[in-house]
Symmetry: C2
Subunit: 348 residues, 2 copies
DNA sequence: TTTAGCACTCCGGGAAAAGGAGTGCTAAAG
DNA sequence: CTTTAGCACTCCTTTTCCCGGAGTGCTAAA
């Protein structure tokens, strides 16, 4: 059966009503909302059709209708109208992103809190690297004969450093040579490659120096892995408790501990800018009766971030999507702006 | 009235029973638990006394008794027997602390999760600095004429670095002089002092160099503040939902968002190694009907950490206290061990 | 195709009833 | 003076029952 225009409109009304009230919606209410141009009996007939076609469901006979996941899907794909943000909200979004970018952790946390408070659902944010990070340059600074400082600049022009404590004394005069060795053998290599390569220089240097080198390489590899790690922060998980669908403490607990302990498994959009996963479309069991809306944003061109919201399937998708893309844009802009400063310097 | 031995024993039984079951405990149950040496009627008389003295309370006539905060206090101070941890548990505690100390954040998070899972209540952990941090030494490394690397070693022998981008070109040959200036004027000073001091060197150097210096000092001050900041992590907040006293979603929500957003206001032990705050002994309103057990541990001698648990007043204080001191010891040991390595080097 | 009418279903809430755990008192016994 | 058994009473909790309302589905007429 074809979906007549009227059926579509009815579906839309059902979704929007249900989103607002969390109660199954009845034929009379729909008729009223449609301006009284048709009677509730007509609506009932249509509802019956829509139910049969799988777009609506009934918790039990003699209850109103609520949208099925399929219904939500149709709504999201075809019926939903993109929502415009008020000036005040755009303002609020940008305000919440006023933070120095060095403090990436803090920035993400902040953004998460802001999204969450804006949409009133739990939110999650992450930034992850698209390309492999490498070291572009090493330096060694003498402190005394047992301590020196390792400084390295990574391929994204960040600088890291670490105090190295040496078991064996090393003559400070040897450090430049060691640094050269590091620079010639361990730059522009991924962490795995570094460790593998380490052995091959073992016989080119004195044991003391080798110990030093291996410490340096070890630290470098750790730092690269650390920086490449995808860190996810979640915010506002406790908002779930305010929702009628999580009145059941067990259900709430399950989802909340998932958000706290298994954030890594939250969905990431694969291809598109924004992805909406409705109920059973989620792969993870715990998310099966929740919906997830997730947007991605760009950071320079070797990082990519992700900002999402978890909520009940009955979620105001239009509102959430609008706010999320607001944030995604804001973040892209923010990172773009900061990115101007570093005069991009290619490894020679 | 004096507290007879029997009264104390009864109080103890009431507390322990109530902790286990979360139900008011009746005279009959107490009699049974005490080996049947006295009858329930006798117990009733005693209960009546204890209630009058304020150690017990009744939710209503004809219900059993439950301990009042005063009752818990007496229990904690005098009746509670220190609990020994099983080998398995000690083992588990130590296992959960196997992490490199550089990753302090991660270590704290890990410890928090471990405590929480062991005691089955939400936990919080932090490490904070007792003394002011300063920079011990600066270095500047040339990258090119518009970029250089600032490296600094702080008074706790940690190294930090940052790429500085210069608006105006600077001759790499000038860097050593700049570094000297930094070392002579900005070492061993607190962040506030650094910024204040900055102006007084303005006329000693060229404008380019001054710009560079102010960037460096700015970064240093930020880094010191950042490192001094007390960071608190919480874990396992969602466990609250499993407790009968938080069946009410509103109450749970209130406490959980407190744990998520206002962790800074969680109690810190002032003087003692371990502090137990029972119900209304807490200053914060939200904590008024929860109890907090918090232990402190030492990190070297200029840092101090804190590890605590939040739960219902009906909490197994003995068990929680034992586990917390297990962790506190473990952490002290862990940090002590790592502290051996750095040959403590005093600023000259 | 739409509409009005009507019987029927099912949920939710409230009142009433039943059940039970525990107290407090009294009076007797140790 | 303390302990104990006995018993009436209280108050909570759970269950049951009943009723009203919202909403459906069907039928028959417009």
């Amino acid at each position: 059966m074809e979906l007549s225009d009227r059926k579509r409109q009815i579906l839309k009304v059902v979704v929007e009503d249900y989103v607002r009230t969390a109660e199954p919606v009845g034929s009379k209410a729909i008729a009223a909302e449609m301006g009284g141009s048709v009677s509730s009996a007509t609506i009932r007939n249509e509802l019956s059709d829509l139910t049969e076609m799988g777009y609506l469901e009934q918790p039990h006979t003699s209850a109103g209708r609520m949208p099925s996941p399929k219904g939500y899907r149709l709504y999201v794909n075809e019926l939903m109208e993109a929502q415009r943000l008020s000036l005040a909200e755009t303002e609020k979004i940008n305000q919440s992103l006023q933070l120095k970018m060095e403090e990436l952790d803090r920035l993400l946390a902040q953004a998460g809190r802001a999204v969450s408070s804006l949409v009133r659902y739990p939110a999650y944010v992450s930034a992850s690297r698209k390309t492999e990070l490498t070291v572009r340059r090493f330096e060694l600074l003498a402190v005394d004969e047992r301590n020196c400082i390792l400084v390295m600049m990574t391929s994204d022009s960040k600088v890291k450093s670490q105090l190295l404590r040496m078991q064996l004394k090393v003559d400070p005069a040897d450090l430049p040579a060691a640094a050269n060795l590091l620079n010639s053998h361990f730059t522009n290599t991924d962490p795995g490659g570094m460790s593998r390569h380490l052995m091959s220089v073992a016989d080119q240097v004195s044991p003391q120096l080798f110990l030093l080198l291996s410490q340096a390489v070890g630290f470098a590899a750790d730092a690269l892995e650390e920086a490449g790690r995808r860190e996810i922060v979640t915010a506002g998980a406790s908002r779930l408790l305010k929702l009628p669908e999580f009145r059941d403490a067990d259900k709430a607990h399950e989802l909340m501990s998932f958000l706290a302990d298994s954030k890594e498994e939250l969905p990431q959009p694969l291809h598109r800018e924004m992805e909406i996963l409705i109920g059973p479309e989620n792969v993870k069991e715990v998310l099966r009766d929740t919906s997830v809306v997730v947007a991605s944003y760009d950071i320079g061109d070797d990082m990519r971030g992700l900002i999402g919201v978890v909520g009940p399937t009955r979620m105001d998708y239009a509102a959430v999507a609008a706010r999320l893309s607001g944030f995604a844009e804001g973040l892209t802009r923010l990172f773009g702006k900061q990115e101007e400063l570093p005069p991009k310097e290619e490894p020679k």
